[in-house]
Amino acid sequence: DTEVTQTPKHLVMGMTNKKSLKCEQHMGHRAMYWYKQKAKKPPELMFVYSYEKLSINESVPSRFSPECPNSSLLNLHLHALQPEDSALYLCASSMGTDSNQPQHFGDGTRLSIL
């Protein structure tokens, strides 16, 4: 069982819908991440939050909007997505962003855009 919890596990939405992905951890981690993973590809970083502040945005389209309400929660708000946005979205957390802090991943949300 993972200590990073993502909901929902699966999401199907139309291109005009608005939905949100949620991620929660209770390990006291101060860094949280969103990754996107297409089939048979490695995860690609989207956003990094450090101490509840956005520290990295990897040139992600504005139809993806991250939010970190507190140190335990991370949301990804979705609006007007495209079919190519269908993927597995993974959340991760770590104690900090330095290189000696391993990231721990949730099981992901499988997103399908119709």
């Binding site: 993972t2 490695p42 990094v48 990295i56 721990h104 099981d107």
Partner: protein, 114 residues
Amino acid sequence: SQELEQSPQSLIVQEGKNLTINCTSSKTLYGLYWYKQKYGEGLIFLMMLQKGGEEKSHEKITAKLDEKKQQSSLHITASQPSHAGIYLCGADFAPRINTGKLIFGQGTTLQVKP
């Protein structure tokens, strides 16, 4: 260009056999991480290596980082069906600025035949 090259891309072994997966970079590796992923699920953290020549083991899995910190290997002894999955190496190439940004290799898919 791919900053982390994994080899082989896929591997099929008979249960009980040993195997090795390699992860190579043209740049110095800081915070080299090994993860395992089952299809459609999250990444499970296996081991982290930081120092040149470092070696770590967990159960039947051993990971090493070479002295030059440009190549890592993951060795599984007496493989079992439970070892099947996708193995990913990830690295932080900018440790001094503590971004938390991990770059992953393309992954190695392991099948273990009973």
